[in-house]
């Protein structure tokens, strides 16, 4: 899992660097995020960080052999992921409603949409896969098919998805906040 995480980190970095490249090469990158969007993204950050704490507790419960505790915290972690996804899809629909498309948007600099949807979409895909992964681990751990080590490894993946968001949130949202 650590090797996968390092390679996935490089994948995300490539996308983030591409975004930086585009933004630096553009004259005026759009800053469309009004206060409600920033508040939404901040709540998403809090949800994801809190789900990581739930994951830590799941890993600890599983290593102590507390099956129901581990399953409960795994489900709580997955629930955090679902809330994150729902909030993010709401943000996407809001932007799509404002007329943002991958190669077109109301504010000029057509690549804004492509960069935004690629970065956040790749992350949303990771969160969604993470939710499915955690639920499979929860069911398997309940049925004694998976061990505490499997729970721990799924935790590594989940914390990594959280970690990536710590870069996407300031780069995409905070640096494009509409100020005054």
């Amino acid at each position: 899992m650590w090797l996968f995480i390092v390679s996935d980190a490089i994948t995300f970095s490539a996308v983030i660097f591409a975004y930086g490249y585009l933004r630096l090469a553009s004259d005026a990158w759009p800053r469309p995020f009004e206060t409600p969007s920033i508040a939404n993204a901040t709540v998403m950050t809090f949800v994801l960080l809190s789900s990581s704490v739930a994951m830590v507790l799941a890993v600890r419960a599983s290593s102590l052999g507390k099956v129901s505790g581990a399953v409960g915290w795994l489900v709580a972690t997955a629930l955090g992921g679902v809330i994150f996804d729902v909030l993010h899809i709401r943000e996407w629909l809001g932007l799509i409603g404002e007329g943002v498309r991958p190669f077109h948007n109301p504010w000029g600099t057509p690549m804004f949409g492509a960069a935004f949807f690629t970065m956040t979409g790749l992350h949303m895909l990771h969160v969604t896969i993470g939710v499915i992964y955690l639920l499979i681990i929860a069911v398997g751990f309940q049925r004694r098919k998976f061990s505490a080590v499997d729970v721990e490894v799924s935790g590594l993946y989940w914390h990594f998805v959280d970690l990536v968001w710590m870069f996407i949130f300031p780069l995409v949202y905070l640096l494009s906040a509409k100020t005054a």
Partner: protein
Amino acid sequence: MEHAETAGNKIIFSVWFGLLGLTVLELILAYQELPLGTMLSVLMVLSVVKAALIIAYFMHLRYELPSLFVTLIPALVFVLIMMTVFFADSSRLAHMRSLLE
């Protein structure tokens, strides 16, 4: 994945509050009238601190064998630094556009 020790509740919750606090700090910074370069640098430093906290405590790399850290992190950091080579070209594009206008 055997551990000699792992972080206790107190550490985990301190890290959690630290991460939430750093997020609030970033949020406040976003509304300050700072030059974009300064803002980017400060936000990235804070993000690296947050990432390090997550890796060290949530992903408990701090409690693994040092060889795991040595194998993974320096190589990753090196690759990321090498990728910044593209930014020279990016600013060249911006410069060329200003020459055309």
